[in-house]
């Protein structure tokens, strides 16, 4: 028996691999749990953070950045999306599925790319969904306070909201690439958490204010900030740095995936 070849393809490719990876991600219950935690965790923290800033005296809102305040929950979203990305790879190595996957898509870069595209697309969609929801939630909670009127059309606000969503997408990719390089769930999540939370803590204890270059600080104080804060990099620089980190970690993952046999 021979199968009618799918449409125009003469050999397996990215399209087939992406379709399979997409189906894989959503055929496991833990994906839905992780997404649920991502969304709920982020929104709960944003709600708490916004509430803490509500109903102060008018003077309190001097230099206040309601958009930035609304994005507070992204720390949770950032953590969860990286875990989701990492597990996409580590669960395959842990269960041995990696061998049937690589037998089906033996070009390893193609395989890696398909997984990254799927994780990136999911993380980006989740990220944008989150940032816009956070904005709406923050707006609703702070609306009755004496915050000066603010909206998406104000200068810098849309950039902060969309940009923050993109960083969530990139963090998903970082998590996935770390998972590809490390192969073990615990190790990958450990490294990811260290990169996100421990590294800035460590660097603030050191001279040189290097913490401002770490991913989470870039999101919180550069990209998600509408009111420019001193001591932090600009949104553009932050974004370039963020993209460079992502590319670097992906390259590392690619080297490991192609060099080390499963």
């Amino acid at each position: 028996m021979t199968f009618a070849s799918g449409r125009h393809s003469s050999r397996y490719g990215l399209r087939q691999a992406c379709r399979a990876e997409w189906a894989k991600v959503f055929s496991i219950r833990s994906t839905w749990w992780t997404l649920f935690v991502t969304v709920v965790g982020t929104l709960v923290v944003t709600a708490l953070s916004a509430s803490s800033a509500a109903h102060h005296r008018p003077g309190w809102y001097q230099g206040f950045d309601p958009t930035n305040q609304s994005m507070s929950g992204l720390a949770i979203g950032a953590l969860a999306i990286g875990v989701l990305g990492a597990v996409v790879f580590t669960s395959e190595y842990g269960s041995g599925t990696i061998r049937s996957s690589m037998a089906a898509t033996p070009r390893r870069l193609k395989f890696l790319l398909a997984k990254l595209l799927v994780v990136g697309a999911v993380a980006l969609a989740v990220g944008e969904g989150l940032t816009f929801s956070c904005f709406a939630l923050g707006h609703a909670i702070l609306g009755s306070s004496l915050v000066p009127p603010w909206s998406l059309t104000d200068p810098g606000v849309l950039r902060a909201v969309v940009g923050s969503g993109v960083t969530i997408g990139l963090l998903g990719l970082m998590g996935a690439a770390i998972g590809a390089a490390v192969r073990r769930t615990a190790g990958a999540i450990g490294i990811y958490v260290a990169l996100l939370f421990l590294l800035p803590l460590l660097l603030t204890k050191m001279p040189g204010n290097l913490a401002r270059f770490t991913p989470l600080i870039i999101i919180a104080n550069s990209i998600a900030a509408v009111v420019r804060q001193t001591g932090f990099v600009s949104p553009v620089v932050g974004f370039v740095l963020f993209a460079c980190y992502t590319v670097a970690i992906i390259l590392l993952g690619a080297v490991v995936v192609t060099r080390r046999d499963p």
């Binding site: 199968f3 397996y12 087939q16 379709r19 055929s27 046999d261």
Partner: protein, 316 residues
């Protein structure tokens, strides 16, 4: 078909496969026999493109696995039945595999039917028993309806009924003109399933032959004799050109003579024998004979235990 040419695979200082060459041709079942840890799994992984050879090549239909246009439609493999995400259902797992090679989803139902897992298609693979897992792995191998099939220890964990099912399946696949390559450390199973044999020990080729030739060449038949006068009997046999070995239970084994010739000799020489039994050489004996020096882990001097023992996985 599969052609392995001067394949060598080195893991650090350990050489798992050493200058191995053989072919697996369509239409027959080729057994891949060797003690645990002899490099069978590594060889199969290399054929599948999962391990990169240190030197040499492993080609499927003339190409390295990675160069195949639709790998799953050319090669199907069961290398490790547990290589499934435990939280994914049987159907989902196969569906994902089908997508990668543009295999119609109807084929997923078909192969689940072939291996008898239709009823548990929507059960999570992690809940499968060992036997169900092996059947499920078979379904994965058959998914692309490939002309080349590899099975690594497919009868592990199966009950007698399951073993017979696998045997018939493999023979049926070969009869349809496919190249079937199946590894095992169970010699008796290979004797029943395989037509040809590739025997390796310590990663190197020991024999590449048919099951029949292998047995005939390496395990000569003998005649078991019990006699009260071993001395005279042995002398008579030697005069007749045979060889005599002492074997357990006060018996002797005569080699180089048929049981009829031994019987006639006994009558001619007026000797007394209490027992005269032709002993068929088994594939097992032949295998022992050949791999005696090639057994990686000898346990307390008992070669037998190391070779055909529990069936535990010693492979790399």
């Amino acid at each position: 078909m599969i052609s392995v040419n001067s394949l060598t695979k080195q893991f650090g200082n350990a050489r798992a496969v050493s200058n191995l060459s053989f072919e697996v041709v369509p239409g027959v079942v080729t057994g891949f026999l060797g003690p645990n840890g002899s490099g069978k799994s590594t060889t199969m992984r290399t054929i599948m493109g999962l391990d990169t050879p240190t030197s040499g090549t492993a080609l499927v239909n003339g190409k390295p696995y990675r160069e195949l246009n639709w790998p799953l439609r050319e090669v199907g493999a069961l290398l490790d039945a547990n290589a499934v995400h435990p939280a994914r259902t049987a159907y989902s797992h196969l569906r994902c595999l089908a997508y990668t090679n543009d295999i119609p989803l109807a084929r997923v139902d078909e192969v689940l039917g072939i291996v008898g897992l239709t009823d548990v298609a929507n059960k999570r693979a992690g809940k499968f028993s060992l036997g169900m897992g092996q059947r499920f792995g078979m379904a994965g191998a058959l998914l692309g309806d490939p002309g080349v099939l590899l099975f690594d220890e497919p009868v592990n964990g199966l009950d007698p009924e399951g073993i017979r099912w696998v045997r018939n399946l493999l023979r049926g696949l070969a009869a349809e003109g496919r190249a079937v390559f199946v590894s095992s450390h169970l010699i008796s199973e290979m004797a029943l399933t395989a037509d040809r044999l590739v025997v390796i020990g310590r990663g190197a080729l020991i024999a590449d032959t048919t099951v029949r030739d292998f047995t005939a060449l390496n395990g000569p038949d003998s005649v078991r004799v019990v006699t009260p006068d071993v001395q005279s009997f042995a002398a008579a046999v030697r005069r007749a050109g045979g060889e005599v070995d002492l074997v357990p239970d006060d018996a002797v084994a005569v080699r180089g003579m048929t049981s009829a010739a031994v019987g006639e000799l006994v009558a001619r020489e007026r000797l007394i024998v209490h027992e005269l039994t032709p002993v068929r050489a088994s594939l097992e004996d032949a295998f022992m004979e050949l791999t005696r020096d090639a057994v990686e882990y000898r346990s307390g001097g008992s070669t037998e235990a190391a070779l055909i023992g529990s069936g535990g996985e010693g492979e790399l």
